[in-house]
Each structure stands twice: as C-alpha cells, then as structure tokens.
Amino acid sequence: MNDVQGSQAWSSIFRPGSIFRKGYSDSPRNRSYVIMNSVLYHLHPVKVKRHAVKVSYTLCLGGLSFFLFILLTVTGIFLMFFYRPTAAQAWDDIYVLQTSVTFGLLVRNMHRWAAHLMVITVFLHMARVFYHGAYKPPREFNWVVGVILLTLTLLLSFTGYLLPWDQLALWAVTVGTNMMGFTPVFGDQVRFVLLGGVEIGTDTLLRWYVLHVLMLPFVLVIFLAVHFWRVRKDGGISGPL
C-alpha cells in the first residue's frame, strides 16, 4: 500500500494535502485542504461567517434546491435511456419503463416527486431571502438572477409535464399553453413556437423534450453558476439580522 501511495501515478492524481496521500488528521490546514482540493466543494470558500452555517437562518433551502437539481439530472439521465419523444411511442415507453425495467418505476417516481419538491424549495428559498432582506445592496443583481432561476425551474417542470403523453399531461399543457396564447400582439406566434404547430402533437413532444432535457438545463446551469459566483463575490450569504 505504501508503494502505491508513494508512486508517481498516485501523487499525480491526489494533490498535496489530499487525505489519500497521508490520511486525515484534524488541523486548520487540513480543513482548508478538504475544500481546496475538491472540485465540487470548491464552490465554497474555505471559511464562512459563523452565522452562515446556522440552519435556522438559511434552512438549507438554496443548497437543497441545487441538490434536487442534481438528483433530477441523475434520475433524468436514467429515464432518457428508455424514452422516445414521439406521440406513438412516448406513453408505451413510460409504461414499459414502469413494468419491465429494473427500478424503472422507482426512478420515475423519484424524478416526479423531486421535481415537485424542487419547485417548492426554490419558492421557499425566494421567500426566505426576501424576509431576510438579503436582496438589498450589494445583492440586488443576484436576486434578479434568482427570479430568473425560479422562472426556469417552473418552465423545466412544465415542459417535463407533457412528456408521459397521458391524459393528465395533454390537458394540463393544453390549459397552460392556451393561456400563453393570449399574450397581446404576438400571442398566436408564441403559441405556435411553443407547440411546434397550431395544435399539441408529436412535434410539440419533441420540442418540449429537447427543451426539458437539454436547453433549459443548459440555461439553468449558466444562471446557477452566476448565482453561486455572485453569492461569494457579494460577500457570502447576507449577515445576521
């Protein structure tokens, strides 16, 4: 084991201070290394204000929203293996997924419930930030980014709603898109672009599928990056009241 840990290959993989080099002993230096040597944890600064770790202040809502997004990405990738976005196949694929694929039903359930949960946590996160006055300078712009993220979350949820192609999906989306058709001046065009035609059909399914699995997550991740970056640049999470 010592030979492996002393090898060049090993030390090229694990950076100085990594727990996989010398093990972990608790010291301020090693505590810093844990954050600095991890690409994921590095979203965090090495140190934060003491009140920032109080659960009663943040209720973890922002972090949980992000975590649910990751959970939805993982379960969503799984679902993509078994799904074809055409009117002729979509419903059957979901049905087969639920009945014949190992853990298919469970993963679909998780994807569904996590999606609803994410809408709730994002919404509550917004309320929490408002009641703490955390949108005030210097964090005004990050609030704007946050509202955009809320809108994107709703759109992601809504585009996913159509994909099972059952009665619930079809008519919920019909109600929703009919409303958008009342946009003044170019309402019909908005509806046409959204549906990929004058009526909901297989083109709509393909369009919303691409929006749901690729385009909206892509845009969301960009805004998410800006959101997290600005949290740190604006001086960490807002101070105690």
């Binding site: 972090g63 359930n109 005030k136």
Partner: protein
C-alpha cells in the same frame, strides 16, 4: 474639529503650567519669554534652517505671537498648537532637541480600517456536515416516498376526450383560478407578467437599506400578501374545483387533483 486625545491634552496642560510657573517665578526669564522672543527667533532659524522648513517655522512663530497676545485664556485649539512650546523649550527629543506637536489628526480620517474582524468557521466540517445531512434527509425522503406513492400515469393522451375538469400543473393553478374571474389576457399574461416584473425589480424599488424586520413592515406585509394571494389561489384551484371547474368542497365530492 478633530477630537484631541486625552494624553495630549494632559501633556499640553502640564507644559502650560510649567511655562506659567517660569513666567511668574524668575524675573530673569521674563524678557526671554515675552520681549526677547522676536529677537531670539532668528537665531534658531539660521541654525535649524536645513532641518525645519521655513513655512513651518513661520507658522509656529505666528502661533507663538498669538499665544503671547492672547494671554491667559487661549482657545482650546490654540492651546494644543502652542502649549507644548514653553518659553524655554525643554529638550525632550531623541537627540536632545525640541519636539513640538504640529497637528492632531483623528485616526479615522487618514487610516480607513477595512478589514473588520469577523467570526469565521471552516466550511469543513461546519457547513459540509450540515449540507450532507440535509441532502441525505431529502434523498431518503424522496426515495421512501417514491417506494410508497407512484407517479400518476393516466391512460394514453386522447384529443377526443377532455377530462372534466382539466387542470394545469399545481403551480399554474393560481393562474387558472384567475381565468375564472378575468379575461384570459388579464389572467394569463397581464397579472402574472406584472407580478414577475415587480418581483425582479424588488431590490430597486425597495430603497430602504435596513434589513431589520421592524424597519421593513411595509415591504414584509406586501410580500406576505403577495405570497398568500398565490398560495390561496393555488389551494382553491387544487382542492376546491370540481367538474366544470366549479367550486366544490373536497369532502363532499372528492378530490380532482393529480400531481
């Protein structure tokens, strides 16, 4: 006016008393302190020329004159400028020379202390542990909930069979509820559009810098009303709308709600 530190005031006071004592005590010292001043002044000026700039010497000289004419009741500010300079300067400096106070500057006006010390903790373990536990709880909850409750999959989409009632996803049911009251353009576009627009502009509309709840009663009330408005509409749309989107009580006719 800058506040003069106490120890300087004290020193000035002592020096002034010493000067007073000398003036009253020794007659021989008297001409030196009052009349002899003007004649004495050029002498140190020539010797100390290379060390002390002329304008500073001029300024101290005029201050000295003022103090001499002002007599026993000098202004507080003048006292600071003149007091450590008695008639017979005591050599107190490092090389046996005279020290004098040129000016008193409040600390904040030159040095700007930016780094106020804050109480900080390491993200590992203090924050990561909390995040990990929260993520774990949510994963466990989603997993267990998913084992027992299945996501709905109704029959295949059918354009010829409209379910009654037809409902949007729950987060849009507030809008669908508005549809029962207003023209579709108002309910579906204008009201949510304005709400979203105001939400985005909130930090630019609310110019109150305070974050304390007691200073933000109006903002908090308004937001609470806004959130309640949507929450109640969503609840009514979800649970109290039956066939034909008519108002019903769920305990009488059952639920018409799918997630």
């Amino acid at each position: 006016m800058a506040e003069v530190p106490e120890h300087l005031l004290k020193r000035a006071q002592e020096a002034r008393e010493r000067a007073e004592a000398q003036k009253g005590g020794g007659d021989a010292a008297a001409p030196e302190s009052s009349g002899g001043e003007s004649s004495d002044a050029p002498a140190p000026e020539s010797s100390g020329g290379p060390k002390i700039p002329d304008h500073l010497l001029d300024r101290s000289k005029s201050a000295r004159d003022q103090a001499a004419s002002g007599g026993a009741a000098p202004a507080a500010a003048a006292a600071v400028a003149t007091a450590p300079m008695p008639a017979q300067p005591e050599p107190t400096g490092p090389g046996g020379g005279t020290q004098r106070l040129l000016t008193v500057v409040k600390s904040g006006s030159i040095q700007d202390v930016k780094a106020t010390p804050t109480d900080k903790v390491h993200v590992w373990p203090h924050l990561l542990v909390v995040e990990f536990v929260a993520a774990l709880i949510f994963t466990a909850f989603t997993l267990i909930f998913s084992i027992f409750v299945n996501a709905p999959l109704l029959e295949l989409a059918n354009f010829n069979e409209t379910p009654n009632p037809s409902k949007a996803p729950w987060y849009f049911l507030g809008l669908q509820e508005l549809l029962t009251m207003f023209h579709p353009m108002v309910a579906g576009v204008t009201i949510p559009g304005i709400a979203l627009f105001l939400l985005i502009l909130a930090p630019y509309i609310d110019r109150n810098p305070s974050k304390k709840p007691e200073d933000r009663k109006f903002a908090i009330s308004l937001m609470t009303l806004h959130l309640m408005f949507w929450a109640i509409l969503v609840l009514i749309g979800s649970f109290f709308r039956g066939p034909g989107f008519n108002f019903v009580f769920p305990w009488e006719v059952g639920l018409f709600f799918d997630l």
